[in-house]
């Protein structure tokens, strides 16, 4: 179990979390920069992060840098990006085995950490500009990634649905921004974004793993503690999305075998853990209302799942359906929501759902990535609850509260990526 949990401020808007659990054989390092999400900068922010992990002032070749980390027992580095509410987060991750597990006791973790710092603080720049060669390659990769978003139909449908659900809000934007904007990104612009990130982005740094973390913590504290900071972003992640006066109905055709339907419901209920219990009861388990009825009883879909964004106060229900069944599925989903609103569930269903949720939370302890991620999510909520502390909150949820919570969710939008046959299939 966790021997040490410590979160402290090491600079203006910079927090360092250290988590030690001796059962782990490796340490992970997570570095996240958080900025307001806006169409103009979304792609450039991601591209800047990609370039920082491609080369640095000391190792100007991507393959040499990759080889360096591979030689440190595969201490892989990675770039990540994503939207959190109306904010954008870009970041870097590294995983490194503990020195005591290397062959012959080689010391690798300190060197891996120092190389990561070189990537962030000593970028591969000439006269203030990123390498022209890697800029062109990574920019093309960014454009390819934007194009490839359509490849995964379910996640593409989700992105298109968000466009309707969060219309007019930053959260509606795709993670990488638009293709047209990305095409116009310049190297000069990236120098500005790099400077902005170091100067103003909110920063969350985490070292989590089996121990031997003192050197990593010292290196991070020194490197990040000396940055000159100003106009630091203070992300208020909780930005509930306003409910539309009338539910929006949008349908887009695509060559598909199966339509993908997203229904969004919004609520004024601000009790995160109460909402989690309700959402899980409705469609978050194989014994939930939607699984038992839409899938098992009516055989309409393979999946009909519920997810909840507490920061936007929005619940999503998504399913894959035959075109002919979308109305039927929609009616069945509304019927199950009504059942919850009328208290048509047993105490057993409620208690079993709580048990499932609590077990899921506790399982975060078994992965250094998961437990680091758990506390990162807690930070977005302005809390630092442990899984056990959240279990206590879950246990306090009553059936009356669940009914009231269910009543608070109202339909906001329905988006369908509608299956149409290929031209040649239509023509027989």
């Amino acid at each position: 179990m966790i021997e040490k949990f410590e979160r402290r401020k090491i600079g203006e808007g910079i927090y360092l979390t250290e988590i030690v659990d001796p059962k782990f054989k490796a340490n992970v390092v997570r570095i996240r920069f958080c900025m307001p999400l806006d169409e103009d900068n979304a792609g450039a922010n991601v591209l800047t992060a990609m370039l920082l992990m491609t080369s640095n002032a000391h190792i100007r070749s991507r393959s040499e840098l990759t080889k360096k980390f591979a030689g440190l027992y595969g201490s892989s580095i990675g770039t990540s990006w994503g939207n959190i509410s109306d904010f954008q987060q870009v970041g870097f991750s590294m995983s490194c085995i503990l020195d005591k597990y290397t062959i012959g006791g080689e010391k690798v973790s300190g060197e891996a950490m120092r190389e990561l710092m070189r990537c962030i603080f000593e970028p591969d720049m000439t006269e203030g500009l990123f390498s022209e060669k890697y800029f062109a390659l990574r920019k093309q990769e960014l454009l390819d990634n934007i194009r490839a978003a359509v490849n995964d139909k379910r996640s593409y449908a989700y992105q298109r649905a968000k466009n309707t659900i969060y219309s007019g809000e930053p959260a509606a934007l795709p993670e990488l921004g638009s293709y047209e904007r990305a095409e116009k990104i310049t190297r000069e612009e990236l120098s500005e974004r790099y400077g902005y990130m170091l100067k103003s982005a909110a920063m969350e740094l985490t070292v989590c793993g089996g121990g031997e973390a003192a050197e990593a913590v010292e290196i991070l504290t020194e490197a990040f503690g000396k940055i000159k900071r100003e106009n630091v972003v203070s992300p208020g992640y909780r930005r509930p999305s306003p409910l539309k006066k009338e539910p929006a109905e949008v349908s887009e055709p695509m060559e598909l075998k199966q339509s993908k339907m997203f229904m969004a419901f919004k609520s004024q209920c601000r009790d995160i853990y109460l909402c989690k219990v309700f959402v899980a009861m409705l469609g978050g388990s194989p014994f939930s209302k939607l699984f038992a009825n839409v899938r098992e009883k009516l055989s309409l879909s393979y999946y009909c799942d519920c997810a909840y964004s507490e920061l936007k106060g929005t619940m999503f229900i998504d399913s894959g359906l035959d075109n002919a069944n979308t109305d039927k599925a929609r009616a069945a989903i509304m019927e199950q929501l009504r059942a919850m609103q009328e208290g048509d569930f047993t105490d057993e269903e409620l208690e079993n759902t709580k048990l499932l949720l609590k077990g899921g939370f506790k399982s975060n302890y078994d992965s250094e990535w998961d437990i680091a991620g758990w506390y990162a999510v807690q930070n977005t909520r302005g809390t630092s609850y442990s899984p056990e502390e959240v279990a206590v909150l879950i246990d306090k949820v009553t059936r009356e509260q669940v009914v009231e919570c269910a009543k608070s969710f109202e339909l906001d939008s329905v988006f369908i990526l509608k299956a149409v046959e290929k031209e040649e299939e239509r023509n027989g």
């Binding site: 059962k23 490194c96 695509m254 598909l256 075998k257 199966q258 077990g359 078994d366």
Partner: protein, 439 residues
Amino acid sequence: MGKSTREIVRSERFGEQYTVIHHFSGLDVLVWPMPGFSTTEALFATRYGSVNTCFRTAKTGDFIQVPEGIAHYLEHKLFENEDTDVFDLYAATGASANAFTSFDETAYTFSTAENWEQALEILLDFVQKPYFTQENVDKEQGIIAQEIKMGEDSPFRKSYFDLLKALYVEHPVRIDIAGTVESIAQITPELLYDCYHTFYNLHNMVLSIAGNVDIDKVEEICDRLLIPAEDQDLETRFPQEPEGVAQKRVVDKFPIGLPIFDIGFKSEPCSGLEYEYRTAAARVVLQLLIGSTSRLYQEMFDEGLINSQLGYSVFSGSGSYFSCIISGESRDPDEVFRRLCAEIERIKQEGFDEEEFSVIKKARYGSYIRSLNNVENCADSMVDSYFNGTAVFDDAEALSKLTVEDCMKALDTMFDPEKSAISIIESSLGEGMQGQEKN
């Protein structure tokens, strides 16, 4: 009734060990306690997957041919008991239950941080109690048809299965695990019972459990719930597979933003320790050949021919198929294939770089250490190695003994451009339409 016996499988190198209980019922039970971990992961698995469509036992006499997708269908249907839904039973334990069917294996799983004993009782009980009726079999048709259609909408899955069809002429890995809407319509309760009684025999199965678990308690639960079975001389048959590929190149179209490709190199199947050595060698060769530190990767990346989505894997199973597969996105997949084959020829002449070989070996060792941190991975590894007739730590031993010469040999035998194929998914969207889709 015989007695159960125990065997310890230990790795001095990693300081890890698990116990094999040869249970008197005929089942082997693999238990890996992991101190400090909260969760318990269990798999009750049978050596039965989508490729097992032709078989016989002492009882059936002649070989029987069953519809494609039936193993997966059976997996769905086993979750319904005569009197209740299995998920409702699990619900009271807090366990998260699931199942999967692969080409050569079906497994019923649970993961839980509470009440693992009760969850294990449910697992052992329901897998041994099939209940198929015309009504409940018919009901599943709609659900699985939607699962199949969901898969058909995935260009990645389409590309992968197109490649398998190109690589294999006769072998049933050519067929989608879930079957087709048409093939599953032929499934009846009687056929499901036939398959169940053939493959869900404890001699053909294994129980694997890792994490927060106690060996004595597992054995006590097994003693109570496992119904002893007689070995029934199961024999599965695969068609004779030629050495060569069925088709060199296959192309399909999908509404995607950037072409997707899968390239495969077919080689001789194998099992046991030979499998561990060949797999270890194949993985290192793939990394040396086209991994992110390789010369070829660097060249193609620098030219914008590939992006960081490039991946590779060893595809193998049931001692009847073995291929090395490279997947990715590219504006020109044919050129990627051409360069890859040329690089193989170059390395055959010039050899691998010794220093790069040792870097890759070290990286794989680090990756192995990290995998021992994962309860699910430990439970899965025990099943995989058991079905292969080896032990979990044999792959790490194989890696430690691997030499550059082994890799050169592997390149020769497992990366023959003559026995390779490419599957490409091109975009059906015009340039203009891609612009619309991007926003």
